[in-house]
């Protein structure tokens, strides 16, 4: 089982300090919701944990049984969804899932993920032709298809309808069985998932 550890983490962009001295330990089974105003640093915190950004101060690492994971193990352990990313628009849903499975070294993707997110009847559709809600579901599927020990979801509910929110709830429940979840959000529905809620930006 993988834990996420932040030790005295601070992030600044130029003179603007987003947060400083942040320490946190997220254990398997936990759901940590990162809340805060727009621009407070919620997405930045998730990017730091994903390894897409280096902290200005402090350290972020993942560990299993007290051993720090190296870059390759960290990559295999993380699933990440962000409003700033997209699937390949020229490819179909199936081709996107096939591609991300193959580059992760998986023989095939998990059909249960597709069922869970209601994508089964959209598999042959190009992503460019999907509504924003279905694009969000594809992004969730890509983040989950390797059954990551740590799932990072940045605003998972945006663009989703009621059925989509129920699917996010199912994703959260499933992830708690498998590992831990960090979620950046302000939506009351998302806040309710948290076993711990931290607020950034004061």
């Amino acid at each position: 089982m993988v834990s996420v550890i932040l030790h005295e983490v601070g992030q600044r962009f130029g003179r603007r300090v987003l947060f400083s001295g942040l320490s946190l330990r997220v254990e398997p089974g936990e759901v940590v919701v990162v809340a805060g105003l727009n621009g407070a640093g919620k997405s930045t915190l998730l990017r730091l944990i994903a390894g897409l950004l280096r902290p200005s101060t402090g350290e972020v690492w993942l560990e299993r049984a007290g051993q720090r994971l190296d870059a390759e193990q960290r990559r295999a352990s993380l699933g990440y969804l962000s409003p700033d990313t997209l699937p390949y628009r020229a490819l179909t849903v199936r081709e996107n899932l096939d591609f991300y499975s193959r580059v992760r070294g998986l023989p095939r993707w998990d059909a249960a993920v597709v069922e869970l997110l209601g994508l089964a009847d959209r598999l042959e559709q190009p992503v460019a032709e999907l509504s924003s809600g279905y694009v969000q579901r594809v992004k969730l599927a890509v983040a989950m298809l390797h059954q990551p020990a740590v799932l990072l979801l940045d605003e998972p509910g945006i663009t989703l309808d009621e059925a989509g929110h129920q699917q996010v709830a199912a994703v959260v429940a499933e992830q708690r069985q498998r590992g831990c979840l960090l979620l950046a959000a302000n939506d009351p529905r998302d806040l309710a998932y948290g076993t711990t809620i931290i607020r950034v930006g004061g």
Partner: protein
């Protein structure tokens, strides 16, 4: 967590297949490279014409190839960033697989370009290749070297704020040895000189060195 079962070669093949599929649907790089190559080829044939010396003809062919390649290959990674797919790819795929997959795609793109450009050049410039095998070997090794450099500099460019400036500053000095050897080998292919094979060995060594250096440095650039 699901256990991975394949290595970097299978992952690189997946990146190559994905890029080929996206390119066949969007035709972005093919259009950019093709339009540039055809325009340059026609302009060169009108200006230099069949009376040009073989060294000049060889240099013009490689200039057309170089600038056409710059217009298409330089976008390998910029397209990922512009399409907002870069971060997901960075988290999903290993750096070695991404570099090799994209480099292989660029080699195929360059060979396809050569397949159109060289026959067109032959007709418009009225050239006769006295050693076609030497020409093919030059185009193959030159394309691999060109792709190795431009794939790497494309990754640098994609991560830079002043994209155009970085591409030009980094790529051109690295490509000078390749251009010198490629022009010499192509001149020899036109003249039928056996000395051209010496330059082909140089091009193969250049490609090998550039691939090795790029693979060693790519992870730093890709994860910067």
């Amino acid at each position: 967590m699901a256990q991975p079962s394949s290595g970097w070669a299978a992952e690189a093949a997946a990146v190559l297949r994905k890029d080929l599929r996206v390119e066949l649907r969007t035709r972005y790089a093919l259009t950019a490279v093709g339009q540039f190559a055809v325009t340059c080829l026609v302009a060169v044939s009108f200006t230099a014409g069949p009376q040009a010396q073989s060294a000049v003809q060889a240099a013009l062919l490689w200039l057309v190839l170089l600038f056409a390649a710059l217009s298409g290959l330089a976008r390998s990674f910029v397209a990922e960033e512009d399409g907002r797919t870069g971060e997901t790819l960075r988290l999903a795929a290993g750096a070695t697989a991404v570099y090799l997959g994209k480099c292989a795609f660029n080699v195929l793109l360059l060979l396809a370009l050569c397949g159109v450009l060289v026959p067109g050049y032959q007709v418009l410039m009225d050239v006769v290749w006295r050693d076609p095998a030497l020409l093919l070997a030059t185009l193959l090794t030159g394309s691999i070297g060109l792709a190795a450099v431009l794939t790497f500099t494309s990754a640098l460019v994609a991560r830079a704020q002043m994209r155009g400036a970085v591409g030009a500053v980094v790529a051109f000095p690295l490509l000078i040895p390749l251009l010198v050897m490629a022009v010499a080998a192509t001149t020899a292919a036109l003249d039928g000189s056996l000395q051209g094979w010496y330059h082909v060995r140089g091009l193969a060594a250049f490609a090998g060195i550039m691939l090795t250096v790029a693979l060693l440095l790519f992870e730093v650039v890709w994860n910067a």
